[in-house]
C-alpha cells in the first residue's frame, strides 16, 4: 500500500524506537553470542579490553600449579591500589602540618576511611610479596630464556618501580614510623659519602650528597621531601608502572604466550568453518608452525573464551575478598606525629627493606648501594648468561635442578646463620681494630662476604656441571634464601640499638 511520506516517516520512527535496544547492543557488540568458534574469536579480537588476550590459550598456561596466577594477582593488586589510592587522595593533603591529621580523619571520621586505608596498606605489602614470588616463579620455570629475555628485563624494572612506589608511599602518613624509616632510606641514598669521605674527595665530588638532596628536596626531611615523595607516588611512578606493565603484557603475546614445555605439534578437528567471512584480515605477524591449520586448533590449546576469563574473574574476586577480610581484621599502623627530635628506636624500614637494613648495619654504602646494585645487575644478567634452551616450562628444570636448589638453599641457610651469629657474638673489624680505615670495612663486611661466597659457589657449579642453568638456579636460590633469612633477622631478632634479642619480650623497657 502506498503511504504518504509523513506516515512512512512516523511509522519508521516508532519502529526504530522499538528496535532501539537491539540496535544499540548491536552497535557495540558486532558479533553473535560466543558459542561458536568464530564468535569466540570475534569477542576476543574485537573488544579493546579482552583483546590483550590471545584467542587460543594453551592448557599449560591455565594450570594453577604452573603459574599460581602470580602475575595476574600482582596486576589486580595494582588496580586495587590505584583505586583505593585515588579514594585516599580525596582527603589526604601532602603538608607537614595537615597530613597526619588527615590520616586520622580517614581512620576515625570518614565512613569506610579506615577500610580504604587498610586495603591500600595491606594491598601494597601484598603486591611487593607477590611480585617477588612472581619473579621466583618465572625464574624457576625457565621463562626468562630466549625469546623472553627482554620481558625479564621489563620485570626487573617493574620490581624497582614497585619498591619505589612502596617506599615513597611509606612517608606520606608523616608519623614516627614514616619519618624515621625515610631517615634511614635517605641516609642510604647519601651513603656514597662513606666512600668519597674515605678517599677525601667529598668536597670535589659528592654524589651521595647530591642524590640525597635531590630525593629530599633539601638537607632535612621536611615539606619538600613530602611533596616530592607524594608526586612520585601518585603520578610519576604509577605512570611508569602502567607503561611498563603494558609493554610487559604485550611482550608475553609477542613471545608466543606464557612459556610451556616443548610439545609435539599436532592438531585436532574443532568444527566446520562458518560460511561467509565478514571481513578480511591483513597480515599481522608470522608465527612459527609446522603446517597451515584450517578448521583446527593447535594441540593443547583451547579458546580463551570463556575459560581464561572465568579464571581471571575468579582470581580477581578472590584477591579482592582476601584483601577486604584482612583489612577488616587488621588496622594499618599509625604511630605518633613525626618528631625529628625523638628518634624511633629501633628505626626500622618496611619489611622488604629489612634484609637490606641488616646489611646496612655493617656498612652503609656496601649494604645500601653496592650489594643491592650488584644483586640487581646479577638478576638482570641471568637471561644473558644462561642461554641453554633445555627445560623451559618445567619447574626447576629437572631432578638435577631440584637437587641443586635444595643444596644451595641449605648451604645458604647454614652459612648466613653462622655469619650473623658470629657478628652478634664477636662483632666485626672495627670492634677489634678501632683505627682500621673505613674502606677496608666497606670492602670486607658480612654483606660483601656473602655476595662473594654466592658468586664463587655459583661459578663453581657452572664449572662442575657445565650447565649455566644449574649455576643460575644455584645463584637465584641462594639469593632468595639469603634475602628471606636476613629479612627475618631484621624483623624479629633486632631490637633497640639494632642489638640482637631473641624476642621482642626481651627488649629493654621504654620502647
Amino acid at each position: 500500500m502506498l503511504e504518504t511520506g509523513a506516515e512512512r516517516g512516523k511509522s519508521g520512527l516508532l519502529a526504530n524506537l522499538g528496535r532501539f535496544h537491539r540496535n544499540f547492543w548491536r552497535s557495540i557488540v558486532r558479533h553473535g553470542p560466543p558459542t561458536s568458534p568464530r564468535n569466540r574469536s570475534s569477542i576476543v579480537v574485537s573488544n579493546i579490553f579482552l583483546h590483550i588476550h590471545p584467542v587460543h590459550v594453551h592448557h599449560n598456561s591455565l594450570k594453577w600449579n604452573y603459574t599460581f596466577g602470580l602475575g595476574l594477582i600482582s596486576a589486580f593488586l595494582f588496580i586495587i591500589l590505584c583505586v583505593t589510592g585515588v579514594v585516599l587522595m580525596i582527603f589526604y593533603v601532602p603538608s607537614v602540618d595537615l597530613a597526619y591529621d588527615r590520616i586520622k580523619d580517614l581512620s576515625f571520621v570518614v565512613t569506610g576511611g579506615q577500610l580504604m586505608r587498610n586495603m591500600h596498606r595491606w594491598g601494597a605489602h601484598a603486591m611487593v610479596l607477590t611480585v617477588l614470588l612472581h619473579m621466583a616463579r618465572v625464574f624457576y620455570t625457565g621463562s626468562y630464556k630466549k625469546p623472553r629475555e627482554f620481558n625479564w628485563t621489563l620485570g626487573m624494572a617493574l620490581l624497582v618501580v614497585t619498591l619505589g612506589l612502596s617506599f615513597t608511599g611509606y612517608l606520606l602518613p608523616w608519623d614516627q614510623l614514616a619519618f624515621w624509616a625515610i631517615t634511614v632510606g635517605s641516609a642510604i641514598a647519601g651513603s656514597a659519602r662513606e666512600v668519597t669521605d674515605a678517599l677525601g674527595m667529598t668536597s670535589y665530588f659528592d654524589p651521595g650528597g647530591m642524590m640525597r638532596e635531590l630525593l629530599l628536596g633539601g638537607t632535612e626531611i621536611g615539606q619538600d621531601a613530602l611533596l616530592r615523595f607524594y608526586t612520585l607516588h601518585v603520578v610519576v611512578l604509577p605512570t611508569v608502572a602502567i607503561l611498563l606493565v603494558s609493554v610487559h603484557i604485550w611482550r608475553v603475546r609477542k613471545d608466543g604466550g606464557l612459556s610451556r614445555p616443548a610439545e609435539k605439534e599436532t592438531t585436532r578437528e574443532v568444527g566446520t568453518r562458518e560460511a561467509g567471512a565478514t571481513r578480511t584480515y591483513g597480515l599481522m605477524a608470522l608465527v612459527k608452525g609446522k603446517s597451515t591449520r584450517i578448521d583446527t586448533l593447535p594441540e593443547g590449546t583451547d579458546f580463551a573464551w570463556p575459560r581464561l576469563f572465568l579464571i581471571e574473574a575468579a582470581l580477581f574476586m578472590s584477591v579482592f575478598a582476601v584483601l577486604i577480610v584482612v583489612s577488616l581484621l587488621f588496622d594499618a599502623p599509625l604511630k605518633e606525629l613525626a618528631n625529628p627530635l625523638i628518634p624511633e628506636n629501633p628505626a626500622k624500614a618496611p619489611w622488604y627493606f629489612l634484609g637490606l637494613q641488616e646489611l646496612v648495619s655493617y656498612s652503609g654504602f656496601a649494604g645500601g648501594i653496592l650489594i643491592p646494585g650488584i644483586s640487581l645487575l646479577g638478576l638482570f644478567l641471568i637471561p644473558y648468561l644462561d642461554r641453554e634452551q633445555a627445560g623451559i616450562g618445567v619447574w626447576c628444570h629437572d631432578r638435577t635442578g631440584r637437587r641443586e636448589a635444595m643444596v644451595s638453599a641449605i648451604a645458604t641457610a647454614v652459612g648466613i646463620t653462622l655469619l650473623v651469629s658470629f657478628t652478634v657474638k664477636f662483632g666485626w673489624l672495627r670492634d677489634w681494630y678501632p683505627d682500621i680505615p673505613q674502606l677496608v670495612i666497606t670492602a670486607f663486611n658480612p654483606g660483601t662476604v656473602i655476595v662473594a661466597l654466592f658468586a664463587i659457589k655459583s661459578a663453581w657449579t657452572v664449572h662442575r656441571t657445565g650447565s649455566t642453568r644449574l649455576g643460575a638456579i644455584s645463584l637465584f636460590t641462594m639469593f632468595c634464601v639469603g634475602f628471606a633469612i636476613l629479612t627475618y633477622v631484621g624483623t624479629f631478632l633486632r631490637g633497640p640499638n639494632w642489638a640482637f634479642y631473641w624476642s621482642q619480650a626481651d627488649w629493654p623497657l621504654g620502647h
Binding site: 631517615t183 634511614v184 635517605s186 641516609a187 642510604i188 651513603s191 662513606e194 669521605d197 674515605a198 647530591m210 638532596e213 635531590l214 628536596g217 633539601g218 638537607t219 632535612e220 621536611g222 615539606q223 619538600d224 627530635l341 628518634p343 628506636n345 629501633p346 628505626a347 646496612v360 648495619s361 655493617y362 656498612s363 652503609g364 654504602f365 662483632g427 672495627r430 670492634d431 678501632p434 673505613q438 670495612i441 666497606t442 633497640p496 640499638n497 639494632w498 642489638a499
Partner: protein, 151 residues
C-alpha cells in the same frame, strides 16, 4: 685509515650530534630544575648567644640543631650530634657518645671507637658575628681539635 663519508652522511651525522647535544641540554636543564638553588629550610648558620652566657667547662646540647657546644681553656668548639652512619642523633653517656640506631660509639672528641659509623662526629665551625654573638655553621666542618677563641 678512516672510512670515507660522503657529504650527505657528514651533514646527517652533524645534525644528529647537534640533536643529541640539544636533548642532552634538556636533561641537564631538567636536572637543574629539580636540584635546588634555594633550600626551603631554616638557615644552617645559627646564632647561639653571647660568649659570656657559656661559662668555662660548658657542654650543652642544642637538640633542635643537633650539635653540642663546649668551652674549655683553649676556647669554644662545637661537635655535631648526627651519627655519620645513617643520621640518627647520638646520646651522651659519660664521656662517650652512643648512637641508638646501630650502636656506633664515639669518644669525647668524636672519634669512632665502635660500630658501623664510617667517620667520627664532625666538628662544626664556630665564629663570632659583628654584634659579638657566637655563630655556629652547621654546614661547615673544621678539623677535629680546632678551637675558637673569642675576641
Amino acid at each position: 685509515m678512516s672510512k670515507e663519508i660522503d657529504r650527505r652522511g657528514f651533514f646527517t651525522r652533524l645534525g644528529l650530534v647537534g640533536m643529541a647535544i640539544a636533548v642532552g641540554q634538556v636533561f641537564v636543564g631538567l636536572f637543574r630544575f629539580f636540584y635546588l638553588s634555594v633550600f626551603y629550610e631554616r638557615s644552617q648558620i645559627v646564632r647561639i648567644g653571647r660568649p659570656d652566657t657559656f661559662p668555662m667547662g660548658t657542654s650543652r646540647l642544642f637538640p633542635e640543631y643537633r650539635f653540642l657546644l663546649f668551652r674549655d681553656g683553649e676556647g669554644f668548639y662545637a661537635i655535631s650530634a648526627v651519627c655519620t652512619h645513617l643520621g640518627c642523633v647520638v646520646k651522651r653517656t659519660g664521656d662517650q657518645y652512643l648512637c641508638p640506631c646501630h650502636g656506633s660509639t664515639f669518644a669525647a672528641d668524636g672519634r669512632v671507637t665502635k660500630g658501623p659509623a664510617p667517620a667520627g662526629l664532625k666538628w662544626l665551625q664556630v665564629t663570632q658575628a659583628a654584634d659579638g654573638q657566637l655563630v655556629v655553621n652547621l654546614a661547615q666542618t673544621v678539623q677535629t681539635g680546632t678551637r675558637f677563641d673569642h675576641a
